[in-house]
Amino acid sequence: MDDKYKANEPFRFFTRMHLSELTGLRASTLSQLLALIKEIPGSSIYHHTHRFLLQYQYLSPEPPNDFAYWVSEALGEDELGEKLSSIDTIQYSTIRSLREKIIQVIELYLKDDPLAKLKFSRPGEEFHFIKSISFVLAANYTAGDLKEFAQVLDKITLDSIYYHIFEARLRLERSSNDFSNWIEHSLGDKELAQKISRLDPYSYTLEELRRNIIALIEKQAII
């Protein structure tokens, strides 16, 4: 393989595991949901907009977030469900800004259709707010060049891919996903870095994302 694919700094793979913490907070109506979305911790917004990615690997495309699913399924507000599920999450670089967008979508909807406030979910189908507790630790894998990187990527857990693509960018507020950052700054391949960061990770299953990133690397580097 060409020397240009040797990195200045090796890429160290991390993994992220998560535990769900129950808040005891629940909503039966859209107004209650909205009020709680405004005050719950960011780790709860994060949980409800991202948990499907890891838990529903077999569904493609996955239901994008719990808020959208609940307003459609439990309240029958399909139009709002569609608006919430089509929020382009990748455009938001912080949980704070994502939360504001969700609030704005619900408030606008309620302004146009105040009767939506009157709907209640059935007993047992309330929305339960959950927080995501992340545990970050180094996985036993590093890559010194692009070939090694693709090999590790092929076998690393989906939790690790998830961490470097989703968590690093949105929850830890880094400028881009970790893979693109490393490829641009340690390998100097801006083009490949951009191709990876242009993928909309929310529209793939994690396994598809893995395959797509590996395919982009193989195409670029001919390894």
Binding site: L19, G24, I130, A139
Partner: protein
């Protein structure tokens, strides 16, 4: 019992590597599980696997059991039913019996663990022994609509724990302690879930005189009213009008469930002499349960209340189409029309069973999705990971923990 590396072909090596990395962070801590029985029921089944796995990963895990007489277990069964929301006549005498046995256990049980992990209400009062160690209360029961007298009695104990763990979001209560959501799991290599040859399946069917050629609907459950075996027979009879099928109701009995025999008799009486209804008492016959599930065309779990409903995970793991009530932890396992069918009534259950029996392709797709969902979320490797994270969270109050 399988070794941890034997799970690599199922979940992949990196998942097992991650477990080892995590377990290493618990070095030097003793984890002490305490429950009320070593045999029978889902809790004992999980602990009999969880504890050896934790040990194999290098975690010093141990398992102790409290003692109690028949009167104690009759009261705790009443508590169990009351927490599930079914009306019970609970008297002051019941609380006295509970406290009497609890006091004996408080005197006898050594709570030596750095983390004492108490399962279900029976040993909950042991918290009175809390010293400088960490205590977790693990509730395996659906307490979304509990009998308030019993819940308030237990809540005073739970409030002294460091954390509580529930199997479904709807079970959480207003408590002054951290609450976590951890689903239980199945072991894909146990006798109950491992692959079986056609010969073994046929031999089990022959043993119980069940013809293989007629479609089989099965519910595997303890004989417990909350599992609604009577409703299952009603649903079967509605299906039977249109499709010539047979029903298996099979389950074991647990040491801490004195009511089982009575329910079994009621079910036998309701079945009358229908030769297509097979009522089987299978104490600890895991391979037979496995074979019956694999021989079935549809698996039913028509519970009225459900702690989690591991029999649903077992069936989905075998890629079986499942019809199950929308209660407890079941909706976490089944997304309606994606990985099974949810129902709310006898008629709904019968309709769903007919749909599946008449549409084998749809049934196959649901079963395949279900297996994939269980693989991602409800195998013992995920459960081990969650428990280790839970133990670590007791020492890390923050939302993002760097280990």
């Amino acid at each position: 019992m399988a070794k941890i590396d034997e799970y690599i072909p199922i979940v992949g090596k990196p998942v097992i590597d991650d477990l080892r990395l995590l377990a290493d962070k618990l070095k030097g801590r003793v984890i002490q599980h305490i429950n009320s029985t070593r045999l029978g029921g889902g809790v004992a089944e999980i602990l009999s696997r969880m504890v050896p796995f934790l040990k194999e990963l290098g975690v010093d895990a141990r398992w102790d059991v409290i003692k109690g007489g028949n009167d104690f277990f009759e009261v705790t069964k009443k508590f169990h039913n009351a927490l599930h929301g079914s009306p019970q006549d609970i008297s002051g005498g019941d609380f006295d019996i509970f406290m009497q046995a609890s006091r004996a256990n408080i005197n006898e049980v050594d709570t030596y663990g750095d983390i004492v992990f108490v399962h279900d209400p029976q040993p909950v009062a042991l918290i009175e022994k809390k010293a400088g160690n960490k205590w977790i209360w693990r509730c395996h029961i659906d307490i979304s609509n509990p009998h308030l007298k019993v819940w308030h009695f237990l809540k005073d104990f739970v409030a002294s724990y460091d954390a509580a763990v529930f199997s479904a979001p709807g079970f959480s209560q207003r408590l002054p302690v951290r609450q976590f959501l951890i689903s239980p799991s199945i072991d894909p290599l146990s006798d109950k879930n491992r692959e079986l040859s056609r010969e073994i399946i046929d031999a089990v069917l022959r043993k119980y005189n069940i013809p293989a050629e007629k479609p089989i609907i099965t519910q595997i459950s303890r004989f417990d009213r909350l599992k609604d075996p009577a409703g299952v027979i009603d649903a079967y009879r509605l299906v039977k009008k249109y499709i010539d099928c047979q029903l298996i109701l099979a389950g074991g009995a647990a040491v801490d469930d004195p009511e089982g025999q009575k329910v079994l008799e009621e079910v036998r009486e309701k079945a009358q002499n229908d030769e297509d209804i097979h009522i089987l008492l299978l104490p600890q016959s895991d391979i037979e349960v496995n074979a019956l599930q694999r021989a079935s065309a549809v698996i039913l779990q028509k519970s009225l209340r459900e702690g989690f409903g591991l029999t649903v995970s077992e069936a989905l793991w075998k890629a079986k189409p499942v019809v199950a009530s929308n209660v407890g932890g079941i909706p976490l396992q089944i997304k309606h029309k994606n990985s099974g069918l949810l129902c709310h009534s006898v008629e709904g259950a019968a309709f769903a069973v007919k749909q599946l029996l008449n549409n084998p392709r749809f049934a196959l797709k649901l079963g395949e999705n279900g297996r994939e969902h269980v693989k991602n979320n409800f195998l013992i490797t995920r459960h081990l990971k969650d428990y280790i994270l839970l133990f670590l969270s007791l020492y890390h109050p923050e939302d993002i923990v760097y280990l």
